[in-house]
Symmetry: C2
Subunit: 173 residues, 2 copies
């Protein structure tokens, strides 16, 4: 149920959500990272209705996140594999898993843990970092007009900047 | 339209998506990072229907991502602000924006750019890293049973592990 086209919004977040923000979509991508490739495997692992799975797989193929290939053993069986664009979703998935582990508390702790295979150590928390390694929070990051900014985008960013200035100068808390 | 309860799935990704995977939800969080606090401001910035906005704000407040406060000037006006849990979504949003910038191509380039405020340099791409700074891709990360793993979780992880072994030993490509 889309109420408006997110792809129309001039924002990379909105455009990303347009492709992967729907129910099931990122869970299908997670399954693909686990090595799941066949329709029946996705269905069994996710407990998803076949018509919904068909729809979501098509969307991911159309959007270039998954590629379909026919298997060599059997020309009719299709396999869905992550493209480079799909594999680039790995940081998004790890960031979401880590957020869930921190904040969506489990009675016995998280069911699954991610480890650096080489050292066996848990994955450190992903955070935006500067080139020199400093962790960057929202206040350390400046949102500026990019090459594709429209006049309205620039106006919007100026308004955000002005509001931030007014608040940090103590007019309101 | 939920087809099953994601929160029932024993996976932090599924639980995260249960709270923030819905249309609009992360865009509302993005607006909150931009300093938007009032119902009317969210509505104007997002062009979202009031009933949908009401629903999503309630969900975010119930889920502890936003907190509601009454403003000092006017006891009746409500302000929605990010909690610590909400602010912790920053890495998720940056990872999604960067993915969109890379892969959801714009005719003139991205409308908005993120810069390290201190250096003026663009934000480096966020990636999972080991404690010693090595970038970790999916093949470098081991998914192991966590403290809350059920018998079914352990079985599942063993199957994933076995499939990976079989494939990397060259039985199938």
């Amino acid at each position: 149920m889309r109420h408006t086209s997110f792809a129309d919004q001039r924002c990379s977040l909105a455009r990303s959500l347009d492709l992967i923000g729907e129910w099931w979509t990122l869970l299908i991508v997670r399954e693909a990272f686990f090595g799941t490739r066949r329709f029946g495997e996705f269905q069994a692992q996710l407990g998803i209705a076949p018509n919904v799975l068909t729809q979501r797989l098509h969307k991911l193929v159309d959007g270039g996140v998954l590629a379909v290939t026919q298997t060599s053993q059997n020309g009719k069986a299709l396999e869905y594999r992550l493209t480079d664009k799909g594999r680039d979703l790995y940081p998004v998935i790890v960031a979401l898993v880590q957020w869930g582990d921190r904040h969506e508390a489990w009675p016995d702790g998280p069911p699954v843990a991610l480890q650096d295979r080489a050292s066996g150590q848990p994955l450190p928390r992903m955070q935006p970092r500067a080139a020199d390694g400093r962790v960057l929070g929202p206040a350390d990051v400046q949102v500026v007009a990019g090459p594709g900014a429209s006049a309205a985008d620039r106006e919007r960013l100026q308004a955000v900047h002005a509001r931030r200035q007014a608040r940090s100068s103590g007019t309101h808390t």
